[in-house]
Symmetry: C2
Subunit: 371 residues, 2 copies
């Protein structure tokens, strides 16, 4: 016996009606919420030159589906991420648009290899970027917009886990110099390995591991630890960012968390939903290269709602409003039902197929008749 070959490559799949419609409904709600905050939607292409998708970086290039373009004779790649494309748009086509420039997007991204937590290699990415500032006000806005979007998308209560990507740099350059390599220190803090911290002579950093957890307690621990006050502006900023969303989300702090924040500047956050192991989104401040060693500051966030849609987010049961139209029905009446939100299913033969085609109603001469 031979096993039938799979119809689709691993990590790529079809979405059937209930969930394809749900994906579209959730996307609409997320984008509409971001647009309501003045974020204009942009649509970059599915593929572009490898270099502009980060393909010069060997590590990032491993993530790319690459192929040769017969027209340009150059290597193109499928986009693994839309944030970078939005940065390219902001610094090219929209280089002269007024700042702060607010842009949002929704689209499919494709990765060459799936992650351990998520088998999908194609996924929906939806997000917003505020370009031209990474001030506390900008950070506060972007986090609030994320919460509004999650609300509008029906995602329910989330946990926002804040981090401070440059906390180690500030401490090492100030009150807590270390002899060990800074990258090693960051790695051990990220791994929460107290023993390793001691081994590399960074015991002074141990309290950072405890300044983690529910926001207010962790912030208090961080303030207590920061006797030299080098983190005061960062801590004050986080309090300011958190203020408008208190009560709308559960807040936590993990100041040395670095996962997925390789390009973040001074603040970052991950978005967790109960029951989902992996974050369903992340954001923070970052810098967009503009060429000639110039950079433009920005803040933004990305959401990856597929796992939630797979579990039923946005799925609607609309069979109650599905009506069978027998041969000879009144087309004007059918049109008025559609205008009223019904789904009509027209007969192609004179058989009564209402039940077989999932219709709870049949159109009679006077209107809908329940099956």
């Amino acid at each position: 016996m031979t096993k039938a070959p799979a119809l689709l490559p691993e990590g790529l799949r079809d979405r059937l009606p209930a969930q394809a419609e749900a994906a579209s409904r959730v996307t609409r709600a997320l984008v509409d919420a971001m647009r309501a905050h003045g974020y204009g939607r942009v649509s970059p292409p599915l593929a572009e030159f490898r270099e502009t998708l980060g393909g010069n970086d060997e590590r990032a290039a491993r993530d790319l589906f690459r192929f040769t373009d017969p027209v340009s004779q150059r290597t193109l790649a499928l986009r693994p991420d839309i944030t970078r494309q939005v940065g390219r748009i902001a610094t090219s086509l929209l280089a002269h648009a007024p700042r702060p420039l607010r842009l949002c997007y929704a689209g499919q991204v494709v990765k060459l290899r799936a992650s351990q937590l998520r088998p999908a290699r194609e996924m929906l990415q939806v997000g917003a970027e505020l370009i031209g500032s990474d001030s506390v006000a900008a950070a506060r806005e972007i986090v609030s917009v994320a919460i509004d979007a999650l609300d509008a998308g029906g995602i329910g209560r989330v946990t926002i886990d804040f981090t401070l990507p440059d906390v180690v740099d500030l401490l090492a350059a100030g009150p807590l110099p270390i002899t060990a390599d800074l990258q090693m220190l960051r790695d051990e803090l990220d791994a929460k390995d107290a023993g390793a911290l001691a081994r590399i002579g960074a015991e002074a950093y141990l309290p950072l591991l405890r300044a983690t957890g529910p926001f207010d307690r962790a912030i208090a621990d961080l303030r207590a630890f920061d006797t030299a006050g080098v983190l005061t502006s960062r801590i004050d900023a986080l309090e300011e960012i958190a203020a408008p969303i208190r009560g709308r989300a559960d807040l936590t702090l993990d100041p040395t968390e670095r996962h997925g924040f390789a390009y973040q500047s001074w603040f970052g956050f991950q978005i967790f939903v109960p029951g989902q192991g992996d974050a369903i989104g992340r954001g923070g401040g970052y810098a967009i290269p503009v060429g000639d060693d110039q950079e433009e500051p920005a803040v933004g966030f990305s959401l990856y709602p597929d796992p939630l849609i797979d579990e039923g987010l946005g799925v609607e049961r609309d069979s109650e409003r599905r009506i069978f139209l027998p041969l000879g029905h009144d087309p004007a009446l059918a049109a008025s039902l559609r205008a009223d939100g019904w789904q009509t299913v027209a007969a192609l033969t004179d058989a009564d197929e209402a039940a077989r085609l999932g219709c709870g109603f049949t159109l009679g001469p006077e209107g809908p008749i329940a099956a």
Copy 2:
């Protein structure tokens, strides 16, 4: 002097806010109209195995962006078309769903090479497929759904140009046998080359070239030409398909037109919009291979609305409803404006940036103040 390298490959481009939002708005309207007729939306992946995208056919394969998948070690391709993917879904995941099966879709497709008329290599394709029948009733429904969708999308009055893909086969197998190769005859009719028809001894087919143009006159010419009556059922069918859309679209007939109908069965149509040289959509009957020489009949249509969106279809001017929120504004008031359809643009500093950020209003303590 060296020319700066292009930022994007030829035929791939970014959509900026006005038009990205318009594309989304038009897509929503088209899909909603198809769903109202009971067509469930499906979302196939952006890439799949070359074979299931038609890559076994050498001619079709030239159209494909191909690359090797490190996971399956097989060749994948970007989808150049969604219809075939919907056929795959209908005959695999949905093989046991009741027929007729009505599915719709909207998504980006990518072609390796642009056509002469359209420089784009990535484009939006939106369409509907009715699977399990290619009867006259099915054909009539799919054409009516296309017109409803075009209406809902704001596309305005279109011309539907019908064709009869098997007209030459019916005539050659019946009253008008020819000695020349049938494919050559089809090609010369498609090229409307009267001289060539004479040269290959197919003068009897010349009247077909004149049975072309406005629907009623061309249908009358075709009936007059078809003295043997082998086309009667086809002609009657076209009259039946045309009946419900008379008055809603301009109708023409070009019985031997074959462009883009390689896979069509007995009827086909192209959709033209005034001012657009190329068709903006096409449809017809076709057969989906099910394996073991089995086929499933289907009818469907595809729309390619990008050129219309480029010319302003779906673009809305919403700056009147764009309001600047100064520092210290009432957040509850701002939220209620957003719920009411306003776009709010929050200040990040205490500067008044309403005009610079394109806002026609500023939020005062009592509500919007016109600039």
